[in-house]
C-alpha cells in the first residue's frame, strides 16, 4: 500500500521542475501599522517573487520574494523619504527585503504554513506564514498575511505612539501568461 503512494509523490515531484518568476505587477504587498491608535496603511509596489510551489511536493517547494524598499508608499511623501533613511530601511546600504522559504506543511484544503527567513536591513529572523493557495482555470492565487516586530529589524526606535508590530498582507497570482513565460530550470 505504501509503495504506490511513494510512487505518486515521486511522480508529482518529478513533474515539478518549473520555476515561476512572477512579474511585480502581479505581486501585491500591503502593510499596516498603528500610529497613535489609528491604522496607517502602505504598500511596497516593486516586488518580485519566484514561486516553485507544488502542494503535492511540499518538501521540494520553494518561494522567494524580493521587495525593493524604495517602492514604499504610505501616502505621505516626506514620511516615505524618511523610511528610506538610515534609521529605517537604510536603502543606501540595504537594497532589498527578502523572504525565503525553508519548509512547508499543509494545514487544510488550500491552506499551508511555511517557515521562512525574513531579511530586512541585513537582519534575518525566522517567521511562520500561513497562506492560501487557490487555483481557478489556469491561474493560481497565493495570499496570506503575517505580523512582525519592526524593532527586530532595526526599523526605527521604540516610540510612544508608533506600534512595534507591522501586519503584512500579500497576494501573488500566477496567470496563464505567467505560466507561458516560465523558465525551465532544474530544482535542486
Amino acid at each position: 500500500m505504501i509503495k504506490p503512494m511513494i510512487l505518486l509523490v515521486l511522480l508529482a515531484c518529478l513533474s515539478f521542475n518549473e520555476k515561476n518568476e512572477i512579474p511585480a505587477k502581479q505581486v501585491k504587498v500591503n502593510f499596516l501599522i498603528y500610529n497613535a491608535g489609528i491604522a496607517v496603511e502602505g504598500t511596497l509596489s516593486k516586488v518580485e517573487a519566484i514561486i516553485e510551489f507544488n502542494p503535492n511536493c511540499l518538501e521540494e517547494s520553494k518561494i522567494v520574494a524580493i521587495a525593493d524598499p524604495k517602492s514604499i508608499n504610505t501616502g505621505i511623501t516626506i514620511r516615505d523619504k524618511h523610511l528610506l533613511r538610515s534609521d529605517y530601511f537604510d536603502v543606501k546600504k540595504f537594497r532589498e527585503i527578502r523572504l525565503q522559504s525553508k519548509s512547508f506543511r499543509k494545514l487544510k484544503k488550500n491552506f499551508y504554513s511555511g517557515n521562512f527567513d525574513l531579511t530586512i536591513k541585513g537582519t534575518t529572523h525566522p517567521i511562520e506564514i500561513v497562506f492560501k493557495s487557490t487555483s481557478k482555470g489556469n491561474s493560481t492565487m497565493y495570499s496570506g498575511e503575517f505580523e512582525t516586530n519592526r524593532l527586530d529589524f532595526g526599523l526605527g526606535e521604540k516610540s510612544p505612539i508608533l506600534g512595534d508590530s507591522v501586519k503584512i498582507s500579500f497576494s501573488a497570482e500566477l496567470s496563464v501568461t505567467t505560466k507561458m513565460n516560465i523558465k525551465k530550470v532544474n530544482v535542486e
Binding site: 500610529n35 497613535a36 516626506i78 524618511h82 534609521d87 505612539i161
Partner: protein
C-alpha cells in the same frame, strides 16, 4: 520640659531651612563652564569650522548686572502728568537681592526681575520724539489697555536720571493680545521699528556705522561668497524691517534677510533644544542659563574660524568690558549665576493664558483624527506636541557621531535651509517645534514667512507666484514657501477641523 521641646523644634526647623537654602545655592550651576558649553553647543554644519569661546577667566571678570527697580514706559497719551518727574525723585533701589531669596517663590519673583531687566540703556531725552499711538498704526506692535509699552522700561540707577532700558528677555518674549492682556514668555509682538527706522533713514545713525553693526550681526565665515550679510542701502534695510511680521525677530547670528520666528518660552522646561536650529541642548537650568548668557552678549565674543563678531582689532580679540561694541548697545556686563538661575526658575514657571477658543466637540474629534492621519502626530507628538528632535535640512547629512549625541529625526522636511546652513546659529538642523500655544503665535516657519495656520496648510504657498503674508525679502514680489507639506492636500473640511484642533493646544 515643654518649652525645651519647642526650642528644639524651632532649632530643628531652622536647621532644615538653612540646609534647604544651602542646597539651592549649592545646586546653582556654573554658567560659563567651558566643558559644559562644549557639550551643550551644537557645532556648525561645516565640521571644519573652529569655534572658540571666551575663557572662563574673562567671563568671571566681567562686572555683574546690578538689577534696579524698573518702571513701566507709557505711550505719551497715557502717561500721567508728572510721572517722569516722580521717577526722578526716587532713590535707586536694588531689587535683586540674593540675601532675600528664601523660597522657590522668591526665586521665581527674582527671576521675573531678571527677565525684565534691560541689557541696553539710553538716557531719557526730552527732545527726542516720544512714543505715541500714531506709531502703532498698520500693525506696528501693540500696547496694553493702560498704554504701557512692555518692550522697554524706565530705569533709575541714579537719583534724578531716567534711563530708557531695552533689550531685556521680555522685549522679544512678551505678547500683547488683542484684548491688551500681556502674556509674558510668549512669542513677542511688541517690537516697534518705526523710530529705529527713522534714525537710519535720517542719517542719525550713519549708514556706514550701521553696516558695520550688520556685519557683526550677520557675517558667517562659512557662508558662500555670494551671500550678502549687509544691506546695500538704508532703504533696503527699512523695507526688510517692514516685512518682519509680529513675532519675527532680527538679531545676532542670523543670515542677512533670514530673520527668525521668536519662540514661546512657555513650557520650555520640557523642550530639549533651544533656538530654531537646535543650537543648544537644554538638559536643565544650567543650559538655559548658558543660553541666556550667550544671547545677551557672549555669542558675540565667540570666535568662528577666528572671526569674533564683537571682538576688537578687526574682530580678532576679546575687548575689555568698556570696549564692548555690541551693535545693540549692550554694555560689557554679565549676569551673575544666581541671577541667571532665578531667570530659569521664572521661565520654567510661566503658564499659558486661558485658551478662549471654543469649537464643537465633533469638529475637534475630527481634527484630532486628521492630526494623526496626516502624520502630524509623528513629529508633534502629545503631550508636548513635539518629539523633541532635530530634523536635518536639505544639504546636510548628519555625521554618524551625531546619532549618539543628539536626538535626530532623520529626514528633511524640505523647508528653506539657509538659516541652518549659513548662519552662525546654523547646525544643519531645525528643531521640531512644539505646537502648544499656536493659537497665540503669528509667525510660523523658522523665518516667519507665514502668519496663520491657514497659510501653513495652504498648498498655494508652495508655488513660485505666492505672496507670503509674513517675512519676504523686499526685492521679491512673490516667493514660494516650500517644505513641510503635511496637510496641504487635505480637504477644506479636514483643514478646518485640524486648525480647530490645533487652536486648542
Amino acid at each position: 520640659m515643654k518649652n525645651k521641646r519647642i526650642t528644639l523644634s524651632i532649632l530643628f526647623l531652622a536647621l532644615l531651612l538653612a540646609t534647604a537654602l544651602n542646597f539651592i545655592t549649592d545646586v546653582i550651576p556654573k554658567t560659563w563652564d567651558i566643558d559644559e558649553i562644549k557639550r551643550f553647543h551644537l557645532p556648525p554644519p561645516d565640521s571644519l569650522v573652529k569655534v572658540e569661546y571666551a575663557p572662563e577667566e574673562y567671563y568671571s571678570e566681567l562686572p555683574e548686572h546690578v538689577i534696579f527697580k524698573t518702571f513701566p514706559l507709557y505711550l505719551r497719551e497715557f502717561e500721567r502728568s508728572g510721572y517722569l518727574d516722580s521717577l526722578r525723585q526716587l532713590e535707586p533701589e536694588i531689587t535683586f537681592d540674593l540675601a532675600k531669596l528664601k523660597t522657590q517663590e522668591d526665586w521665581i519673583k527674582a527671576g521675573e526681575l531678571v527677565f525684565n531687566w534691560p541689557a541696553a540703556f539710553t538716557p531719557y531725552n526730552e527732545k527726542a520724539p516720544q512714543l505715541d499711538s500714531s506709531l502703532f498704526q498698520n500693525g506696528n506692535g501693540k500696547f496694553t489697555q493702560d498704554g504701557i509699552y512692555p518692550f522697554s522700561r524706565y530705569v533709575i540707577n541714579e537719583k534724578g536720571k531716567v534711563l530708557v532700558g531695552s533689550l531685556s528677555c521680555a522685549s522679544c518674549h512678551t505678547r500683547v493680545m488683542e484684548s491688551g492682556d500681556v502674556i509674558p514668555g510668549a512669542q513677542g509682538n511688541v517690537f516697534n521699528t518705526v523710530r529705529f527706522a527713522n534714525s537710519i533713514l535720517s542719517g542719525k545713525i550713519p549708514f556706514e556705522i550701521f553696516k558695520f553693526g550688520q556685519q557683526q550681526l550677520n557675517y558667517t565665515p562659512w557662508a558662500p561668497p555670494m551671500m550678502r550679510f549687509v544691506p546695500v542701502s538704508p532703504q533696503e534695510y527699512i523695507q526688510n524691517l517692514k516685512k518682519l511680521p509680529a513675532g519675527g525677530s532680527d538679531r545676532q547670528g542670523m543670515a542677512y534677510g533670514y530673520p527668525f520666528a521668536t519662540p514661546s518660552l512657555i513650557g520650555i522646561k520640557d523642550i530639549k533644544y533651544l533656538d530654531a536650529t537646535g543650537l543648544m541642548k537644554h538638559e536643565g537650568p544650567g543650559d538655559l542659563m548658558r543660553y541666556a548668557a550667550f544671547n545677551q552678549g557672549m555669542d558675540m565674543l565667540t570666535s568662528y574660524n577666528g572671526f569674533m563678531p564683537g571682538g576688537k582689532n578687526n574682530f580678532s580679540s576679546l575687548p575689555l568690558p568698556d570696549e564692548w561694541n555690541h551693535p545693540f548697545g549692550y554694555g560689557g556686563k554679565r549676569y551673575s549665576d544666581e541671577q541667571l538661575y532665578a531667570l530659569t526658575q521664572y521661565i520654567y514657571s510661566l503658564q499659558p493664558p486661558e485658551n478662549p477658543n471654543k469649537f464643537p466637540e465633533n469638529l475637534l474629534v475630527r481634527g484630532e483624527r486628521v492630526f494623526i492621519q496626516a502624520g502630524c502626530v509623528t513629529c508633534h507628538t502629545p503631550p508636548l506636541f513635539t518629539n523633541n528632535k532635530l530634523t536635518p535640512v536639505n544639504g546636510f547629512e548628519p555625521p554618524e557621531s551625531h546619532f549618539t549625541k543628539y536626538d535626530i529625526f532623520n529626514v528633511s522636511v524640505e523647508t528653506d535651509s539657509v538659516s541652518a546652513l549659513y548662519s552662525r546659529r546654523g547646525t544643519g538642523y531645525y528643531k521640531i517645534p512644539s505646537l502648544r500655544g499656536v493659537w497665540f503665535r503669528s509667525a510660523f516657519f523658522h523665518n516667519g514667512n507665514l502668519t496663520t495656520l491657514e497659510e501653513v496648510l495652504d498648498s498655494a504657498r508652495l508655488h513660485d507666484n505666492y505672496v507670503p503674508t509674513g517675512f519676504r525679502p523686499p526685492h521679491l514680489k512673490t516667493m514660494p514657501v516650500k517644505g513641510h507639506t503635511f496637510g496641504t492636500d487635505l480637504s477644506e473640511a479636514d483643514k478646518q477641523a485640524l486648525i480647530a484642533f490645533l487652536k486648542t493646544l
